[in-house]
C-alpha cells in the first residue's frame, strides 16, 4: 500500500477508482458536462467518463466557472467522486467546497506518477492522506 500526504484537503472520506493523467482540469474547458465525459480534444482523458472517478491530475486550469459547475454537476449526479491535484487554484477549492466534493492537493513529488491509472484509492481528508490500495 502506498500512502501519500497532501498539504491541502477538503471534503469527506471516499474510496474509488482512480482516473489518472498528467494534464490540467477545468470544468468549463475540458468537459462535456451533459455527457459526463472529457471533451477537450487535446486533453489526455478525451472521451473518457469522469463520473464517480477519483480524478488524479496535475493542476487546476482555466477560469472561474468551475466554482459553480461542480455544484451543478453534483446536482445531476454526473460528477467525479474526488479530485486530486499536484497544484490547485482557489476556484477548484471553492468549487469543491460549494459542490460538496472531496479534494486533495499539494504533494511532495508528482502525484500523477505515483498513482496507477485504474487503481483503487482511498482518501481521508481529515488526515490529508491518499492511499493506493
Amino acid at each position: 500500500m502506498i500512502e501519500l500526504i497532501a498539504r491541502h484537503a477538503i471534503g469527506r472520506p471516499v474510496r474509488g477508482s482512480a482516473l489518472v493523467a498528467h494534464d490540467g482540469f477545468s470544468a468549463r474547458y475540458d468537459l462535456d458536462r451533459a455527457a459526463g465525459k472529457f471533451s477537450r480534444p487535446a486533453h489526455k482523458l478525451a472521451g473518457q467518463s469522469y463520473v464517480g472517478k477519483v480524478l488524479v491530475l496535475d493542476t487546476a486550469k482555466g477560469g472561474v466557472a468551475s466554482a459553480w459547475m461542480l455544484h451543478e454537476m453534483a446536482s445531476r449526479q454526473l460528477v467525479p467522486l474526488a479530485i486530486v491535484l499536484n497544484s490547485v487554484n482557489p476556484i477548484l477549492a471553492q468549487g469543491a467546497s460549494f459542490g460538496g466534493l472531496t479534494m486533495l492537493a499539494g504533494f511532495d513529488g508528482d502525484v500523477t506518477a505515483r498513482v496507477p491509472n485504474g487503481a483503487t484509492v482511498e482518501i481521508d481528508p481529515e488526515r490529508r492522506v491518499l492511499r493506493v490500495l
Binding site: 491541502h8 484537503a9 477538503i10 490540467g24 468549463r28 474547458y29 475540458d30 468537459l31 462535456d32 451533459a34 471533451s39 477537450r40 480534444p41 487535446a42 486533453h43 493542476t59 487546476a60 486550469k61 482555466g62 477560469g63 472561474v64 466557472a65 468551475s66 466554482a67 459553480w68 459547475m69 455544484h71 451543478e72 453534483a74 446536482s75 445531476r76 497544484s87 490547485v88 487554484n89 482557489p90 476556484i91 477549492a93 471553492q94 468549487g95 467546497s97 460549494f98
Partner: protein, 385 residues
C-alpha cells in the same frame, strides 16, 4: 471559511469591491435555485454591503433569437437576474469593468471573478485579488471581506520565474498568443512571471488580451512587465534580480501557438469576444467593415456600458451595415456555446481572441486564431485568408 482554512488564511481582509461571474450555463437550475434561496433569506433583507457588480450574462435578450437560444435558457437568466437584484447587486454584465466601470487602484484589496478581470487588476492596476468564483465573490459582497491568502499577501506577489521576450506584438491576436505562450510556460496559479524585453508601453486593449490569454492558458493571476507595470519599475522590486532567465520567447513561439489552431480555411462564423470589446476595438472593427458584405455571421460582443456609445457614434450601424451584429452584456463562451453551435450549424470559428480559442475546443468547435483584419475578410469570403 472552508476555503480560507484550505489555503491556511490567518484572517480576513476587508475588500472594497466585488465582481461576480454567474452565467446560468455555469449555475444551472441548481445554482439559480440556491441564489433564489439566498435572496429570499431574512425576508429579503440579505443585501451586499460593498459595490458588487456582475460579469457577462448568458445572453443578450435583444439578440437571443439570432443566437437561437431557447426559452428555458432565457427564463433561467431572468430568474438569476431577479435574485441578484434582490441581493442589491449592480447588473453591469461586463468583463472589462477596469475599462468601463471603475478600475481598482494600487494596493486596493478586491474580490473579483473572471480571470481576465483579476489578472488585469492585479498586474496592470496593482490591485490585490485572488480568482474568486461566483459563490465566494458574492460572499465577499455580502460581508465586505475575503480570506487573506494568495495575492492579498506581499510574499505571493514576488516574481517566481523570469521570461525574456525577443519580439513585441502589434496586433491583439499576437498579444493574446504571447500571453498564451507565457501562461503555458508558467504552469499554475501560484506562478508569477516577470516578463522583460518588450518595446514601449502596451495599451489597455493589448494588455487585456495578453492577460486574459495568460490566465486562460496558465491559470495565472499576476504578471509583472519590467519597467512597465506598477510593481516592477525595477526588476529587483519583485525579486527578479535573484532569478535566472528561465525562458526565451521569440516571434516563432507566438506564431507556432497560433498556427496550431489553423486547421481549416473554411469558416462558419466569426466572433469577437472574450474579453468584451472596448470602444476603440469597435472603432477599428467598424473601419474594417466599411464597404464589405458578409457571407458568414460575424458577432462583435461588448459591454452594456460601451454599446450605447457605439450606437451613438455610428459604429454599430457601420458594423451591421456589412452584415455583422453587435451584442452586449454577454460573452460568447458563457452563452450556451455548445447549444448555439448545434442550433446554428457553427463549428469552424474564427476569432482574434486567444482566450476564446483555448476555451472552445472543449465545446465542440474548431477554433482558429487570426488578426481582426483576417477575421473580417473571412466573414466576407467564408474563408480564412
Amino acid at each position: 471559511m472552508e476555503v480560507g482554512n484550505f489555503f491556511g488564511a490567518e484572517d480576513f481582509v476587508p475588500v472594497t469591491q466585488a465582481h461576480i461571474m454567474a452565467d446560468t450555463e455555469s449555475l444551472g437550475p441548481a445554482g439559480v435555485k440556491w441564489l433564489e434561496g439566498l435572496a429570499a433569506a431574512g425576508q429579503g433583507q440579505c443585501k451586499v454591503r460593498i459595490p458588487t457588480i456582475t460579469d457577462p450574462r448568458g445572453t443578450d435578450f435583444a439578440k437571443a433569437g439570432l443566437l437561437k437560444q431557447l426559452a428555458w435558457m432565457l427564463d433561467l437568466e431572468r430568474r438569476a437576474i431577479a435574485a441578484f437584484v434582490k441581493l442589491g447587486v449592480s447588473m453591469t454584465d461586463t468583463c472589462i469593468n477596469y475599462q468601463t466601470i471603475q478600475a481598482p487602484t494600487r494596493g486596493e484589496h478586491v474580490a473579483f471573478g473572471d480571470t481576465g478581470v483579476v489578472i488585469y487588476s492585479n498586474s496592470v492596476c496593482g490591485a490585490r485579488s485572488n480568482f474568486e468564483g461566483g459563490p465566494s465573490a458574492l460572499a465577499a459582497g455580502l460581508t465586505g471581506r475575503t480570506p487573506r491568502y494568495g495575492f492579498h499577501l506581499d510574499a505571493q506577489r514576488e516574481a517566481t520565474l523570469r521570461i525574456r521576450v525577443h519580439w513585441t506584438p502589434r496586433t491583439l491576436n499576437d498579444w493574446g498568443a504571447l500571453g498564451g505562450v507565457i501562461g503555458r510556460l508558467s504552469g499554475n496559479y501560484w506562478a508569477v512571471p516577470l516578463v522583460e524585453g518588450l518595446e514601449g508601453a502596451p495599451g489597455s486593449d493589448a494588455l487585456k488580451h495578453f492577460g486574459a490569454a495568460m490566465a486562460s492558458f496558465g491559470s495565472i493571476a499576476l504578471f509583472h512587465l519590467a519597467g512597465i507595470t506598477p510593481e516592477a519599475a525595477r526588476i529587483e522590486d519583485v525579486g527578479g534580480d535573484r532569478l535566472p532567465v528561465a525562458h526565451h520567447v521569440s516571434e516563432s513561439d507566438v506564431k507556432a501557438l497560433q498556427s496550431s489552431y489553423a486547421s481549416d480555411d473554411e469558416i462558419d462564423v466569426v466572433v469577437f469576444s472574450a474579453p468584451q470589446l472596448s470602444l476603440f476595438e469597435l472603432r477599428d472593427l467598424a473601419g474594417l467593415c466599411d464597404g464589405r458584405k458578409f457571407v458568414r455571421p460575424m458577432l462583435a460582443i461588448t459591454s452594456p456600458q460601451v454599446k450605447p456609445d457605439a450606437d451613438r457614434m455610428g459604429l454599430t450601424g457601420r458594423i451591421e451595415a456589412a452584415g455583422g451584429q453587435v451584442l452586449s452584456g454577454m460573452c460568447f463562451y458563457q452563452s450556451y456555446a455548445r447549444e448555439i453551435a448545434e442550433a446554428n450549424g457553427w463549428k469552424r470559428l474564427a476569432t482574434n481572441s486567444a482566450k476564446l480559442v483555448n476555451i472552445l475546443g472543449g465545446y465542440g468547435y474548431v477554433p482558429m486564431l487570426a488578426s481582426m483584419q483576417r477575421c473580417v475578410e473571412a466573414a466576407e469570403t467564408g474563408k480564412l485568408p
